[in-house]
Symmetry: C2
Subunit: 140 residues, 2 copies
DNA sequence: TAAGTATTTGCAACTTAGTTGCAAAATAAA
DNA sequence: TTTATTTTGCAACTAAGTTGCAAATACTTA
C-alpha cells in the first residue's frame, strides 16, 4: 500500500512525504469524497492545517484529485479515476450528494448529459450535481 | 419601481425596509446573479455587512431569490422567476458561468436533462452548472 | 553513504467570510 | 398616536483560508 501511493506521487513528480502519503491513503480508503475538515479529523494531530491546504492544492494541480462544488458550498475532493493529468481534468461524470448522510460520490458510470445552449453561449465544462438518497441510506 | 419591490416584499409578508427594497432592486437591475460581495460594493456605505447576510438569507427562505453553487465556491444569488414560494424552490433551470467575465446567468429556457441513476440511488434535485463563454464575451 | 541542494513543513500572524447577542431604530398594528 | 413587533447596526466572536519564513525533510550526485 505504501508503495502504491508512493508510486502515484512519484509519477506526478512530487516528493514523497509522510503527509502526502497519508492524505492520499485517506482518499483511497474513503468511499466518498473528502472535505478539508474530514482530513483534519482523520489525521488528528499528525500535521498542520496549512499542510493539508497545500497538499490538497498540489494534488488538484497535479490531477490526482478533483474538487467537487457542492450545494452547501463546502468544497469536497475525490480521487481522479483516469485521464487526469497536470492541468487537465476530465472528470466527466455526475456527482451525487446524499441528503441523509452527506456522503458525496462520483458516479463514474453516469455520463454527463448533453445540454443545449442558447444562441451566443459557448458550452465549455458541464457540472452535474445530483442530491437525493444514496444506496446505503435507502431502505431496501 | 419602488412600489413593485414593496409589493414583492409585502406578498412575502416581510416588513418593507430601506435595505430590503434596495437589495431587491439590485437584483432586478442586475443581468446576472449577485454574490454577497457584489451587493456590498453596490451599496457602498449604505448598510451593514450583517444586514446583507440576513437579508439574503430571508429572501432565500421566502422564495424571492435562490442560491447558485458555483465551481469557485462563492455562492451567488439570483431572482426566482416563478413558482418559488416559502420553503419551496422550483428553479429547474441550468446555470451558466462565463469564464471570461465571471457573470452567472440563469438559463431559464434550458431545462435540466434527465439523469439516469444507478441502482439504489434515489434521484432528488439535479443541479447543472455550465461554464463557457457568454453571449456578451463571444466575438460575433 | 555523506554532503549539498531543493522542496516541504510547521508556526505565527494575518485576511476574509460568516455568525450571534443585544440595544437602538424603524416598521406595522391598534 | 401609542404600543408591540420586527429589523438594523455595532461589537465581538468563530471559522476558513493565505502568506512569509526558518527549521526539517526529501532528493541528488559524487
Amino acid at each position: 500500500m505504501d508503495t502504491i501511493v508512493a508510486d502515484i506521487l512519484k509519477r506526478s513528480q512530487l516528493s514523497v512525504t509522510d503527509s502526502r502519503k497519508r492524505i492520499l491513503e485517506y482518499f483511497q480508503q474513503a468511499n466518498g469524497a473528502l472535505a478539508h475538515a474530514d482530513i483534519e479529523k482523520l489525521s488528528g494531530e499528525h500535521f498542520d492545517r496549512v499542510t493539508i491546504y497545500r497538499t490538497l492544492q498540489t494534488f488538484v494541480e497535479k490531477g490526482i484529485i478533483h474538487a467537487i462544488p457542492t450545494a452547501d458550498n463546502s468544497i469536497r475532493y475525490a480521487l481522479c479515476k483516469n485521464d487526469c493529468a497536470e492541468g487537465h481534468h476530465h472528470d466527466n461524470h455526475v456527482h451525487f450528494m446524499c441528503d441523509k448522510c452527506g456522503t458525496t460520490y462520483c458516479l463514474d458510470h453516469v455520463t454527463i448529459p448533453a445540454v443545449q445552449m442558447p444562441e451566443g453561449f459557448t458550452n465549455g465544462q458541464v457540472n452535474v450535481l445530483v442530491s437525493g438518497v444514496c444506496k446505503n441510506c435507502n431502505p431496501q
